[in-house]
């Protein structure tokens, strides 16, 4: 499959996946978003695998790793700030215990995700590092 065709098909799959997730959320059925996400991810993976031209190599993986790590750090920081803001203003007596627990949970989750992604990229880039 050519890169351009795969891109068009990928966009169509992504749109269908988002529509499925939105429909599931509106319908109040948790299974539909999960199934949509899994099916969409599977289809995108298959599309990417069937592209004839090289679309991923050592350089693009390095750039992808840096970009995804930066995105993860920024997103988690923003979610933490918003979450803590909502927790502390949600009740008349400010709930600092819950805020502390939230920070702890986020830090543990971040550490796990960070270790997992570092492990995955070091495996993917094995022997190709700068």
């Amino acid at each position: 499959m050519q890169k351009n065709h795969a891109t068009i098909a990928g966009i169509a799959v992504a749109v269908a996946m988002i529509a499925g997730i939105m429909y599931g959320v509106r319908a109040g059925n948790a299974a539909i978003p999960v199934l949509s996400f899994l099916a969409g991810s599977g289809l995108l993976f298959l599309l990417k695998r069937n592209v004839d031209t090289v679309i991923e190599d050592e350089w693009t993986l390095l750039v992808e790793q840096k970009a995804s790590t930066m995105t993860m750090n920024l997103t988690s920081f923003l979610f933490t700030v918003i979450g803590l803001f909502l927790i502390t203003i949600s009740s008349p007596e400010q709930n600092y215990d819950q805020a502390a627990l939230t920070i702890a949970a986020i830090l543990v989750t971040l550490a796990i995700v960070y270790i997992a992604t570092t492990f995955w990229y070091s495996h993917a880039l094995r022997g190709t590092g700068p």
């Binding site: 090289v54 190599d57 050592e58 350089w59 390095l62 750039v63 022997g127 190709t128």
Partner: protein
């Protein structure tokens, strides 16, 4: 690390796209190497060496530190 990839590519009258295809990498990688923003892996350096028929040290120039 400095390199002469652009010169060797010109000598062999290859476009960045053609060179990328022959080496099995993306054009972005060739651009990054030519602009000395990225030092390729040893495997890719050997593939370049084989393609141009010259030793690696003719393509890449190691600058000793200190």
């Amino acid at each position: 690390m400095k390199n002469k990839l652009r010169i060797f590519r010109a000598v062999h009258t290859l476009t960045q796209e053609e060179l990328a295809e022959k080496l099995g990498v993306t054009r972005h990688t060739i651009i990054a190497i030519e602009n000395e923003r990225y030092d390729p892996s040893l495997g890719l350096a050997f593939r370049m060496s084989d393609l141009f028929g010259v030793p690696i040290e003719d393509i890449f120039i190691h600058e000793k530190q200190g």
